[in-house]
Symmetry: C2
Subunit: 144 residues, 2 copies
Amino acid sequence: MKLDDSYFMQKALNEAEKAFEMDEVPVGALIVIDQKIIARAHNLTERLNDVTAHAEMQAITSAANFLGGKYLKGCTLYVTLEPCVMCVGALYWSQLERIVFAASDPKRGFLSKNLSPHPKTSVTQGVLAEEASSLLVRFFQKKR
Amino acid sequence: MKLDDSYFMQKALNEAEKAFEMDEVPVGALIVIDQKIIARAHNLTERLNDVTAHAEMQAITSAANFLGGKYLKGCTLYVTLEPCVMCVGALYWSQLERIVFAASDPKRGFLSKNLSPHPKTSVTQGVLAEEASSLLVRFFQKKR
């Protein structure tokens, strides 16, 4: 049975929930190849005191480590929020096959900056967007 | 005596030369606060099998670790090549004070993508640009 985008995005949402519980902006990411999850990560910028510790960045490093090569050809990234400029820049270098994201980020997302990933990379958006957004809204309401 | 941009860029070039000797694209970076170098790094994408291991990214992580906080307020980054999309995105989040780069990168540099760092960050370009370029040219000639 072929696992679909919603299946994997739900797993990415589980990662985002771990971030939420750690008082981190709740964003989670997975990298999948041939229907297998090879990297899971969630935002850790506060815990690591490091602006570069976005879920996507950690997932890229971890997947490349698993594959033993720096290019993520044939891989799909699932992430619960539209990647920012930094993350889409990293995804560009990785040459992965697909990016699937849930919630849009009209303020900091790469689409609002007219950026695109590598020409070899396709983008799908809106998978479980409501679930991902509502987790983010809950987080920022709690912070106020 | 106040140390100037050329002084620090020369130190960043020394980092780039270390990358060259390791067969890495020769780019080096420093982060300086109050005339003190708090981070030094050079490109390690091959050695670490990691597209995110640009000199700037490592320098940001290292400086934040030194300062004990994720924001690099009051810091200057010296880097021998114009930062790419990923790196300028990371520099945006870091809110550092200044970016000083040597050689331009018309193909992959952030200026060609109409990106800018944080509004609080100023940019100076062209410091020791010829030295930085010639090291890059030597590297890519050797690769052919």
